[in-house]
């Protein structure tokens, strides 16, 4: 069994809303000062899903794949520290800032080059653009089935996935090879121990360019994108809260009830 987990490195999302900044002219988010980028939340959970398969079937090989700037090596290292075996980094400026389709094409080409892959795991959505399409597009490009928003992934000849639906769950079986996208309902990702982090430093990370994947510049990154980013901005909220007065919580509560009544809300 060979599993590839696609992990994206993103700006840390766990920052106070006031430190979130956009450069409107560049149409880019300004990464918060002094806060290191991290593995996208659902991607660490996708690594966890792969490790749970490996826990049961120890001969499973797990490859951590990322497309990003040189710093994305840290995201791969995190996956390796969680127990991944090998890493592949697509580090090529021409592949950056593409839309999901261009990114999926590049990742799919890398998965083909890795070869012999039985399952690809992705996050349900990346925590930067919140798009949630790359995994399904990789499946479409590879011609594989896909199951999205998994809360559990079990492999036994085929793959059985419990999917999270808005009003419950469904269990779906897919033939392998397949792509599965993973959601937080799967559970917390394991936390690497110091020794595992040290071991990960010695694990191999291959670095590929678009040319290594036989892709030319017109197929990848912005040039290969079908979506245009016409504007990026921060929404402004203009609500002014009216805080309830009162010497005691009871008084505050009574004042709130009265306000709600006056506004015909109750």
């Amino acid at each position: 069994m060979h599993i590839v987990v696609c992990v994206k490195q993103v700006p840390d999302w766990d920052i106070p809303p006031s430190s979130f900044k956009v450069d409107e002219a560049a149409k880019k988010v300004v990464p918060p000062q002094g806060v290191a980028p991290v593995v996208s939340q659902f991607d660490a959970i996708a690594v966890e899903a792969a490790m749970r398969v490996k826990d049961v079937k120890p001969d499973t090989k797990v490859t951590i794949l990322s497309l990003g700037p040189a710093s994305a090596r840290d995201a791969i290292k995190h996956g390796l520290a969680m127990g991944g075996d090998e890493g592949v980094l697509i580090d090529d400026a021409s592949t950056l800032d593409g839309d999901s389709l261009a990114t999926a094409k590049t990742l799919a080409a890398a998965i083909n080059k890795i070869g012999g892959v039985d399952m690809v795991l992705c996050g349900r959505q990346a925590v930067d653009w919140d798009m949630g399409v790359t995994g399904t597009m990789i499946a479409g490009i590879l011609g594989w089935p896909v199951v999205t928003i998994a809360k559990s992934v079990t492999v036994n000849g085929s793959v059985t996935v419990e999917r999270v639906l808005s009003d419950g769950y469904e269990t779906v079986e897919a033939s392998l090879p397949a792509v599965v996208t993973v959601s937080n309902e799967l559970g917390e990702p394991r936390y690497p121990k110091l020794q595992q982090i040290m071991m990960a430093a010695r694990k191999q990370v291959q670095v590929w360019t678009a040319a290594d994947l036989s892709l030319d510049g017109a197929q990848v990154g912005q040039a290969g994108s079908q979506l245009t980013l016409d504007r990026l901005y921060q929404p402004v909220s203009e609500t002014q809260v009216e805080l309830m007065e009162g010497d005691t919580p009871e008084e505050q509560a009574q004042n709130l009830a009265r306000k709600l009544r006056e506004a015909k809300l109750i």
């Binding site: 389709l101 399409v133 597009m137 779906v172 245009t228 504007r231 505050q252 109750i266």
Partner: protein, 326 residues
């Protein structure tokens, strides 16, 4: 020439889903030519008239037993057939279980760009342009499309449905060619519906939301009592669902449900942007939080800075009293 808008319709409890009506309303408002609606599965044909009443000029029906359960492969095949026949300039889906799954599948199949979770739509220079939240709701991105058809999902409740007009007629087109079941590589083996009691969260006019600050599942008793008293539903944050205090089906937010009640009372909820993504359309947000700097107060009309343990019981009493007075 690709022209007009195709809306991918969904069926909910045997009826055209409210989100479908919203999409049809939005498609008409775009003024980009004819509006078509695709309907799949055994209930489809019977709903063509509802789609017409909601704004469709044409209804494409794909009725095939292979479409009884939603599968990515089956629905992508069906939608590709409709797109081929209708040749629309843009395809709109809901940001729903189906739309989330189907939009990227059709995008990959046709090799076209896809944008998810649009909250605003416009027609610019003969093409679709959408605005969507990104970075957990902290940013807004405006996207255009180089490829045709443009494919976008639209956030439920972000658009307005038209007043249904029963006299409207649509041309109903039954799409020929069966679905190739051999190409459906996934199989739904089991479905579990979350036990739903009382009013549906998405439809509720009043939502009482509880967050991690409640400290444990036992403290939802007050939240439930207030919800019952006001004829509302209980909503929760992801933190609460992740800890298993409440079912995931009650989660409100970016990766949960979108609600837009008249009254949204958030108790011990910090108001993270990803949570607000699911409730910022509420007409009146009320916040009870012990932290005066909590983000939730930035979106609230009324607020109480205080401990829910001390505020909630007298609030329930005061509401009861008002209710009793009539």
């Amino acid at each position: 020439m690709a022209e007009g808008i195709l809306v991918v319709g969904e069926v909910a409890e045997g009826k055209l889903s409210p989100t479908t009506s919203e999409l049809l309303g939005a498609a008409r408002k775009l003024g980009a030519g004819a509006v078509s609606c695709a309907l799949f599965g055994p209930d489809a044909a019977g709903l063509a008239q509802s789609a017409a009443a909601a704004g469709a000029d044409k209804v494409y029906v794909v009725d095939d037993t292979a479409l009884a359960d939603y599968t990515t492969d089956g629905y992508a095949q069906a939608l590709a057939k409709v797109i081929e026949q209708a040749s629309p300039a843009a395809v709109l889906l809901g940001q729903t279980d189906v739309g989330r799954d189907l939009a990227p599948a059709i995008g990959a199949r046709l090799g076209v760009g896809v944008a998810m979770d649009a909250i605003e739509l416009s027609w610019q220079n003969g093409g679709l342009q959408i605005t969507r939240p990104a970075y957990g709701g902290n940013a807004r991105a405006v996207n255009g499309f180089k490829s045709t058809p443009a494919v976008a999902t639209v956030r439920p409740k972000s658009q307005e449905a038209l007043e249904p007009d029963a006299s409207r007629q649509a041309e109903v087109i039954s799409v020929a060619g069966a679905i190739d079941a051999a190409q459906i590589r996934t199989k739904v083996v089991n479905k579990t519906k979350a036990a739903a009691e009382g009013i549906r969260l998405e439809d509720a006019e009043v939502v009482i939301a509880g967050g991690r600050g409640l400290g444990g599942p036992e403290n939802f008793a007050g939240v439930e009592e207030l919800a019952k008293l006001l004829g509302g539903a209980v909503g929760v944050t992801r933190a609460v669902a992740d800890m298993g205090w409440r079912p995931v089906s009650e989660q409100v937010g970016l990766t949960g449900k979108v609600v837009s009640p008249t009254l949204y009372i958030a108790i011990a909820v910090s108001g993270a942007s990803q949570h607000m993504a699911g409730c910022s359309g509420s007409k009146n947000i009320i916040a009870i939080n012990k932290d005066p700097d909590a983000n939730i107060f930035k979106s609230a009309r009324f607020g109480i800075v205080g401990d829910f343990k001390q505020v909630l019981p007298p609030l329930i009493e005061a509401v009861k009293k008002i209710k009793a007075e009539g």
